[in-house]
Symmetry: C2
Subunit: 360 residues, 2 copies
Amino acid sequence: MIDPKARLDEVGERALLRYLRERIPGGPGVVIGVGDDTAVIESLGPFGLVTVDALVEGTHFRRDWAPPRLLGRKALSTGLSDIAAMGGTPRHATVSLSLPPETPFAFVEGLYDGLLERAAETSVNLVGGNVSAAGNTVVVDVTVLGQAERLLRRSGAERGDRILVTGTLGASAAGLLLLAQGVRVDEDGALSSTGLWTESSSGPLLRCLQAHLDPRPPIALGRALGETATAHAAIDVSDGLAGDLLHLCEESGLCAWLDAAALPVDPDAAVVARAGGRDATEMALGGGEDYQLLLAIAPSRVAEIRELALVWGVGLTEIGEFEAGEPAVSLRKDDGREPLRVAGYDHFRAGEPPSEAAPR
Amino acid sequence: MIDPKARLDEVGERALLRYLRERIPGGPGVVIGVGDDTAVIESLGPFGLVTVDALVEGTHFRRDWAPPRLLGRKALSTGLSDIAAMGGTPRHATVSLSLPPETPFAFVEGLYDGLLERAAETSVNLVGGNVSAAGNTVVVDVTVLGQAERLLRRSGAERGDRILVTGTLGASAAGLLLLAQGVRVDEDGALSSTGLWTESSSGPLLRCLQAHLDPRPPIALGRALGETATAHAAIDVSDGLAGDLLHLCEESGLCAWLDAAALPVDPDAAVVARAGGRDATEMALGGGEDYQLLLAIAPSRVAEIRELALVWGVGLTEIGEFEAGEPAVSLRKDDGREPLRVAGYDHFRAGEPPSEAAPR
């Protein structure tokens, strides 16, 4: 047993690696897990999917805002979302951690609690990893490997395709706002501080924080879309609805409009936005990190995909349409259309403080 | 064209991603490279190999010691070495970069020069990546995917197997010593400063720096070993000969002795060690980051493996033998045997300054 309060420079690299090796189980398709020169997996086919994402302290998260267990869950979920958006099944993941020597062991323990829990929920195997000492910034790099029968690309949207999105939008952005206002959850995802808010609003607060700190991309639906070929194109909503729709437009050579009244603005985000004098629709359009699926569907197959979403218990909303034209996104309201300017978050730009919003 | 002197917060994330996307070519077995939700590769089989390694600033490298091009080459080579030690063929790699906003664009350019050059030399495709803004530490995380017909594990050594090692040992440790003494190479790998040394010693200096900054693991031999099944076990020498041999002992349930007189101490490292009052044999035993292959070979197959090494132009030296006994390594000299204490480098231990030696 390692003392949870011990710093990593007291625990030592060998003891840390031994601990991780003992915790990480094998699984289906894993020939050799942790402990040899490389991990060995059975062949992934017919298509192998590979995606890598990083959670960088000060850019994507703050240690005083995100309990390590939730951080571990999210580090895996961002890659799972990419695999879902490709129509694939996630299978394996590797984790590379950069950790300051003064990090308490409990942080690594909590991070792996979350990683292993999320991996078990989604039938993903952790097959290897790397631990490095780092100056003063925690970096969690996760590579997810998956497989697909058929690919769901960004470039397949066709003129006249309906635009559909899973779940609701804006709750993650609202959660970030709440963190900045001092609202906190504990390791188990329960509210530990309501900041400036009253206890009576705990339901919406909790759900927004969960959306931000522990997103649940619709993995099973993504896989089903790959198997049934019901969608022409897909992308996961990580930068924000408007920005990600623009990516689909650019890759497919089309423009698109969104119906402002149809957007599935998250009701809890709306509560938070209203109280803070913010526009919930703007949060839904540009907030980012929703980890929902944005889909291009032929009109004749909309009914079919609605069935599929019902089967998998995923909300699905029709929000617009692709048209011929230069890549651009416009918003349709009662009084006409307005072009949507897609700013997109830029991590490198000076003057923008590092925040947990930081969609990639 | 982006100004090489521009800082990343002036260049912006989008321009940086566009630049990287344009630079990274496709390749055999790559269905979709950079630019969709995930990269897509053809099935790797029968065994898929996965390894992840990180180069962390201040722990594994210093920006004023390692030109970015060489850093890019090394970031890939460490993973290639793992694949070789598993008897596999490297196929694809993903790169996740964490970069401080004030990093000059030229650093990223140089890093990718090195990554792409090394990838082309070894027929590896860069299939994806991630770029994150980070506080003040550069982290280069590289995942390498490979394939193998047959696996060369750490656990297969048998009693009586001969211990062989490729190339020479100690040059990387000597190179690190030289960097600490102010010897420097430029982007092209030419000596730019000899520090306290005279120009006349430039040959040995250069070769030691190259060994440290631009290691060349015997990839083709590793692959051939996997194909021919001539070796019982293998590991790459990254922690240092003694430590990595102990890993083979532990995994195979054996002990081993090394013949001190037989060790292939690098002649250039010997020059550097002599001048610095250091023991070259100790550098060969414990220096680390040699990225050579350490092999367990049945006595009846030593001749065969020597042939194979000749074909691939790789030096190969017999240095000891595995015996029955508790996992341990001893050094045989004229006057008998002494047990080798394997300290092993621990990145997390307080008091040890971050250095470029830092073998993992």
